[in-house]
Subunit: 183 residues, 2 copies
């Protein structure tokens, strides 16, 4: 079974090494990991971003499952590119798994939470309502995993290096491998 | 034609009124707008978030197109729930349109951009690389619109009220209406 390895890992300065480690973990569980940077596109080339999009989309169509790194990225939610890819794979009815290396709930991560009007609602600094369901991130992300694959995996405690600890990643890979055995 | 109206508009304190305005604009162009809050789920009820997810997913399956409000939300990128929904609709091979009421490129919106190593790369404050393709947001979002519908619509200048100005929204609705006529 082929599994698409989505995540902001591609933005790490050692992204290639992390991709190799992720693929090795997949191989140890009998799976083929597809890591976006394996597409070998020159990021400085003309139309590079479009070529990357097309190559990633091809990989997603080829894969039977996704393991999405949904660790919060540049804000309270997961990386936008990864969330798009989770949606795409859900839309394609593939097996969806994901993890976040930062435990805790979304509401607590949004800066400036406060009740403005005496109601039970919380608002951010732009006076937009903050969803308060006790979930780790936006409900569309969390429940997509619940219903189209397996519940979000998070560690009990935040690992020392949230961008290099692959314990939760491997737990997702194990779920995909079990699914592959049953299929 | 039915069009799913995705966006963080649901978090506005006058979300119902904005939803009505969006549906009215759709109707004026001969379309049926499906706004998530029309699902009439008690947000304080048991399993509310799961019920909202399922109702939104039903609406997306029912719709032929999406107009996604991709205005930056709690960070440099669009709202995570909206991005998931764009991905889902792309995965379902629906007609994808979207707008952002904040013009400008992603790189300029990420705090702390700086070149660390004398290379052409930019890094954020966590030393993660910032993508630098001159695009408005993550390349997966921008090119999904380019290839599965129509390029992102943005105003020339930021409107006075980015959460209530529906000029760019209406431009997307017009695109969907044209598509409906051709179909």
């Amino acid at each position: 079974m082929k599994v698409y390895l989505a995540g902001p890992d591609v933005f790490l300065s050692d992204a290639m090494a992390v991709g190799r480690r992720k693929r090795d973990i997949c191989a140890a569980h009998g799976l083929v990991g597809l890591f976006p940077l394996d597409n070998e596109i020159d990021p400085a080339g003309p139309e590079a971003s479009l070529a990357i999009f097309q190559a990633n989309t091809r990989m997603m169509r080829e894969a039977d499952a996704i393991v999405a790194n949904l660790t919060p990225f540049r804000g309270p939610s997961a990386d936008a590119g990864t969330v798009y890819e989770l949606g795409f794979m859900a839309g394609q009815e593939k097996f969806c798994t994901g993890y976040s290396n930062v435990p805790g709930v979304y509401l607590d991560r949004v800066a400036g939470t406060r009740s403005l009007d005496g109601s039970a609602l919380f608002y951010d600094s732009d006076k937009l309502i903050i969803e308060d369901f006790g979930l780790a991130d936006n409900l569309m992300i969390v429940h997509a995993l619940d219903l189209f694959g397996h519940a979000l995996i998070t560690p009990q405690q935040t690992p020392v290096d949230i961008w290099h600890d692959l314990t939760a990643f491997e737990a997702c890979v194990r779920l995909v491998a079990e699914r592959a055995k049953r299929a």
